[in-house]
């Protein structure tokens, strides 16, 4: 029986905007298992990053707030612990890696000082010891001549090296969970391969769990054990990486997988597409949100119906551990056979 490390239950996060309150995350639940990698995948605005920011309580203030749900981690509900306690969790038990390493690092402090700060904040050690540990961790993330790099400033490093420093900071206190929000999106493919490889090695060595947030299905397939597919603030489908890639059960997941150009495709053939566009957060219906873009013949009628505006579909477990939004117009197995 796999042991769970983090359980997100029915998380609801909203933002106050000039146009009213928008619910960016609307009832999201998933479980991260110990030592495993969970992928959160979806397109811009689907709420994947807001979910991560909610877990570590770093929502933009004062607009963002958690309206409901629980984030169970180590026997506590992170959604309701005090700010002081949360401060200890962040960087201590939960490490974070952001997309753009240049904004995650302070440009006017040396690498070593920024790394030492993490150690000094979470551990009872001297400055000298913290500095030495900084060199150690830089070595661990594959930075050549770490004893020299430790006294340099972020701008002196290349993009790939900076991301290694950010990873070093995230891992400094041996966290049990690392949240990586698009960790390789700003990097070139060859550097991306290096960084993903590094994260896998470190995970094998240190045994932490990872939440990998990305829009890149290739990165998901390569790094994740479990996957949560999000659409317009909700979970469309979740399951093991095999479930999602080999037996996609939500029409959105299927559409996404079919629309990526693959190397083995015949050149210049038409790519599969998903019609229409992601809905804006202000115009979200209560019902199945993918319906207006669904190829299901009954989708149009459903969008016109009262149910679309008032009835929220739940998730159904179609095979052990594989859940999909339970509405006929978005389920792959409810699609009538082509005549």
């Amino acid at each position: 029986m796999p042991e769970s490390l983090l359980e997100v239950e029915n998380l609801v996060t909203a933002f106050d905007t000039d146009a009213g309150q928008v619910t960016a995350v609307d009832g999201v639940s998933f479980t991260v298992e110990k030592g495993k990698t969970l992928g959160l995948v979806g397109e811009s605005g689907c709420g994947k990053s807001v979910t991560a920011l909610s877990i570590i309580r770093l929502l933009p203030q004062p607009m963002g707030k958690i309206l409901g749900g629980r984030v169970l981690f180590g026997g506590r509900d992170l959604a309701s612990v005090s700010e002081g306690e949360m401060h200890k969790v962040r960087g201590g038990q939960i490490g974070m890696i952001f997309q753009e390493p240049l904004t995650a690092l302070n440009p006017v402090h040396r690498i070593g000082r920024q790394l030492s700060e993490v150690f000094l904040l979470h551990q009872d050690i001297s400055k000298k010891e913290a500095w030495d540990r900084s060199i150690e961790i830089l070595q661990k993330v594959g930075i050549p001549s770490p004893e020299i790099r430790v006294s340099e400033y972020p701008h002196q490093l290349s993009g790939g090296m900076r991301q290694r420093v950010v990873i070093a900071m995230a891992l400094a206190c041996k966290p049990s969970l690392v949240i990586a929000d698009e960790p390789t999106t700003a990097l070139d493919v060859t550097i991306q391969a290096q960084i993903l490889e590094l994260m896998k090695e470190l995970q094998a060595e240190m045994g932490m769990s990872i939440i990998m947030i990305t829009h890149d299905l290739g990165v998901i397939a390569e790094t994740c054990d479990d996957v949560v597919v999000m659409y317009a603030g909700r979970v469309a489908e979740k399951g093991s990486v095999q479930d999602i890639f080999h037996r996609p059960s939500h029409l959105y997941t299927k559409g996404l997988l079919e629309s990526i150009p693959r190397l083995e495709n015949e050149r210049k053939t038409r790519l599969q597409t998903i019609d229409g566009y992601v809905p804006g957060l202000l115009e979200l219906p209560v019902g199945a949100r993918f319906a207006p873009r669904s190829p299901h013949p009954n989708a149009a009628a459903y969008v016109e119906s009262e149910a679309y505006r008032s009835e929220r579909p739940g998730l159904i477990e179609i095979e052990p551990g594989h859940w999909v939004e339970d509405h006929p117009v978005v389920r792959v197995d409810q699609l009538p056979a082509k005549s």
Partner: protein
């Protein structure tokens, strides 16, 4: 590196290429010190030769800073090349200036990466699309509006878009507007600089389909610049791989992917994350990062990062560009190709 005689055989067919780039260089001076003297040259594009046939898509792939966007801007003559020639339909356009360039401007258009930034947010879509028509001599208002309506229809946007503003559209729709603007003057060549990399997957495929449709309909040629190899492979007839200002491999798209020869091309292809959990993955990991194009290392630029070992002596040697099969060229150097002996 490539002589003029070789250039002739560089193109794919026998017909005259639409675009010929010959020994193109674009250096940017790096200034510094109290008197802002030029201290060094940033060699963004360093001796590049390529050609594009009418109706053909040439994919240009490389990592950030390799000079692919600079090359695209030189072709559009947004930059003035430092040296070398650009010929369009046989006419040399690389040394034309000002008014002399205008007749070519409408034939060579550009699509940019971020449609949010390349569209003027204070102009309506109607204004944005009418402006190029006005500049290039469609004087009558009614004629312009008729043309705009037909272009909007071609790129799949509603007719009422003319009165709306860029912010009212999603990223994918905005890219359609960018495409509409680029094709409104019936260009022959469109330089596309990362046209889909800012878009979501589901929208990306819509835009790629649109670009392929337009190419068929108007016999457009594309210089398609991108870092996503799977996208480039899908849309291109031929592919050029660029590294540190130089082309290291060029050939028919299938050839380059099925039979990559350059160590860098192989590393790039192996690094693509495959959307299949059971795929056999063997990443070729490159050492370190791309060196700076200011004072690039002597000899073969890639040798120091290559996974194919070579002697210190060889490091200083420049590579040699060779045609290994019809239309498939590669930089041959002990550190860039496996079984170097077979190539010499």
């Amino acid at each position: 590196m490539i002589s003029d005689t070789e250039q002739a055989s560089f193109s794919n067919g026998t017909s005259q290429p639409l675009l010929e780039i010959d020994g193109l260089k674009k250096y940017f001076p790096v200034k510094g010190g109290v008197f802002m003297k030029t201290r060094a040259q940033l060699k963004a594009v360093d001796d590049v030769s390529l050609s594009i046939q009418p109706g053909e898509t040439l994919g240009l792939v490389g990592e950030s800073g390799c000079g692919k966007s600079t090359l695209g801007k030189c072709v559009c003559r947004l930059y003035e090349p430092t040296a070398g020639h650009i010929r369009f339909r046989g006419d040399t356009i690389s040394d034309l200036k000002g008014k002399a360039l205008k007749p070519y401007r409408k034939d060579i258009q550009m699509i940019f990466q971020d449609p949010a930034e390349s569209l003027n947010s204070r102009h309506s879509i109607g204004n944005i699309l009418e402006e190029p028509l006005l500049i290039h001599g469609v004087r009558e208002g009614r004629e312009r509006r008729r043309k705009v309506a037909s272009i909007l229809d071609t790129v799949g946007l509603p007719a009422d878009a003319v009165n709306r503003f860029p912010f009212e559209f999603s990223g994918g729709q905005r890219q359609r507007i960018g495409i509409a603007r680029a094709i409104s003057l019936n260009p022959q060549l469109v330089v596309c600089d990362e046209p889909v990399s800012a878009l979501d997957v589901s929208v990306q495929s819509q835009i790629l389909n649109l670009m392929m449709d337009l190419q068929k309909e108007f016999n457009l040629s594309y210089l398609f610049i991108a870092h996503d190899l799977a996208v480039v492979k899908h849309i291109s007839d031929r592919i050029a791989i660029m590294y540190l200002g130089k082309i290291v491999e060029v050939g028919p798209a299938e050839d380059v992917f099925r039979n990559p020869l350059h160590a860098y091309t192989k590393a790039l292809i192996s690094a693509i994350p495959v959307p299949e959990p059971d795929a056999q993955r063997k990443h070729i990991l490159l050492q370190g990062d791309v060196p700076s194009p200011i004072d690039p290392p002597p000899g073969c630029a890639f040798a120091r990062r290559s996974w194919i070992p070579c002697s210190d002596e060889d490091l200083e040697k420049p590579g040699e560009f060779k045609e290994v099969s019809p239309g498939h060229w590669v930089e041959v150097h002990p550190a860039t190709v496996e079984n170097y002996q077979d190539y010499i």
